[in-house]
Structures are given as structure tokens and as C-alpha cells.
Subunit: 124 residues, 2 copies
DNA sequence: CTCATCTACAACCATTTGGTTGCACGTTAG
DNA sequence: CTAACGTGCAACCAAATGGTTGTAGATGAG
């Protein structure tokens, strides 16, 4: 695994974590209240370790946090990360909206002509 | 490849497509106006075919559409899909908000007690 | 203390992903 | 018409993903 702590990597982890139905379901189940990993794992047709890995993916993405209660670890979804994902989509959408505005011919006649600046870069 | 045309699969493809910096960059570059695949590929340190594959992933996710102009294919980002992704995040966030509201003890004393309904199911 | 439970983690395996090169096909320029 | 260009697709490869089983460390129950 490539350990990349860039902002881009953060979004990568976020969207990657969301791109799996089991993980999205875990987020839903843990939104109400904390669920122990065992209790969580009991709800899926796969091994405990597999669910544990999914939780780890969500945790690395910042979508979930664990706090201990006795010998259990309560998993709870972290709302901040959801907001972060939404902000990223908003940025993308704002760009599109910008295109529409230019098409309407109302704003910023020609702010950029040819060279597209890539603020994030296709690093991998 | 597992061909799954369920609603869950649609979200999978959407978020998976967004989970790559190159693809997010393609979305940005194609938000302004349509870009031919060649022109697009020239902007990245990888082969033409690799960029072509990224575009295909975006296309399968519905994030991008191609229209032909002469012998070129103009790639343009499809704003509807962005909205769809945002709606999915809103659903997740609404669930979390529901938890907070119950914690505040202001609304819906006990709408659901124990059995979590899973509207999407951990199918894979 | 002893045992059962919850969790973490390593090793392993099949499939998918992201990249490559090479080739075939349609279309446009000259 | 012919050549060059733009595109799509297949075959191949290394690495990542998603699953498995097994082992080991903490912690709480009795």
C-alpha cells in the first residue's frame, strides 16, 4: 500500500471507502449509536475479520471512530468526514456551474484561455 | 467483472470513479467544455490507453458523456451524476442528523428500537 | 485464578485495478 | 486515393482489494 498523506490521498480514501455497499451499510448502522465490532459483524454474511477490515478502511478514511467500552470497541460514524466528502462534490459542481455561467456570457469574459491549471495533479 | 445493475452497484461505480485523483482531474478539465480524448490524454504522464480507461470508468459511472465531433469524441462531465452522489451523501448525513435529534431528545421519542432495517443490504 | 469473549493482526488466495504495448477500424486532410 | 490521426479494444503484468483461516493479546465474568 502506498502511504500518501496528501490532500488528494485523503479524498481517495474517503471516496474509496464509500464505494462499497457493505461499508455504506456499516455507516448507516453505526450512525444511530456505537456498535461493537462483533455485534456489527454478526449482521453480515462474512467473517469477523472481513468486517474488521471494512471498519479499518472506514477508519483510515476518517468516516468512523472507535472508542472502547470494556473489552469492546464501539464503532461510530464520524459526521465530519461526510461533510468533507460533500464539500469535495460541491467544488466539482461549482466548477461545472462556472461553465454554465460563462456560457450564459454574464461573467468573467475569458479568465482562462488554454492552459488548464491542475490544482491537484494526477499523482499516483 | 461482476455485472450488477442494482442501485447499489450504481453508487459503487459512482464513488469508485471519484476515488482517483486523475479521474477527479478529468472531471475538472471537462467541466469547462468538451475535450477530445487525445487532448485530454496529452495532459497526463501516462499512455493514451490508460486515460481512455479512466474515461471509460467515468462513463460507466455516468459522470461523463461523449459526443462526437468529426473524428474526435468530446468528453464532457455530466452534472446529474454529481447531484446523485450528493444525494447519497445527504441520505447518510440525514441518518446521522436523526441520531443527533434523538440525542437532543426533541423529536420522535422512539421511532425504531432495535432491529435496523437495511434498505440496501450487504449484497456483494 | 481461569476461562470465555472481543479484538487485532499475519499469512494466504482469487479477483480486480491500473498501467503497459500492439493492432484494427473509421474519418478527415491533402 | 492515401496517409495520418483519433479511437477502441485485446492481451498482458504488477499491485491492490476483499475475502479466508489461524494465532495471540486484553479484558471481563464467575
Amino acid at each position: 500500500m502506498v502511504v500518501d498523506e496528501s490532500a488528494s490521498g485523503s479524498l481517495d480514501r474517503l471516496f474509496h471507502a464509500l464505494a462499497d455497499p457493505t461499508r455504506r451499510d456499516i455507516l448507516r448502522r453505526c450512525a444511530d449509536d456505537g456498535l461493537s465490532v462483533s455485534r456489527l459483524a454478526a449482521g453480515y454474511p462474512m467473517s469477523f475479520a472481513a468486517v474488521q477490515k471494512h471498519v479499518a478502511v472506514l477508519e483510515r478514511a476518517g468516516l468512523v471512530a472507535k472508542r472502547r467500552r470494556g473489552r469492546e470497541r464501539l464503532v461510530r460514524t464520524e459526521p465530519e468526514a461526510l461533510a468533507r466528502a460533500r464539500r469535495a462534490l460541491d467544488d466539482l459542481e461549482a466548477l461545472w456551474r462556472g461553465r454554465v455561467e460563462r456560457m450564459s456570457g454574464l461573467l468573467t469574459p475569458e479568465p482562462r484561455t488554454e492552459a488548464h491549471d491542475q490544482q491537484e495533479g494526477p499523482n499516483r
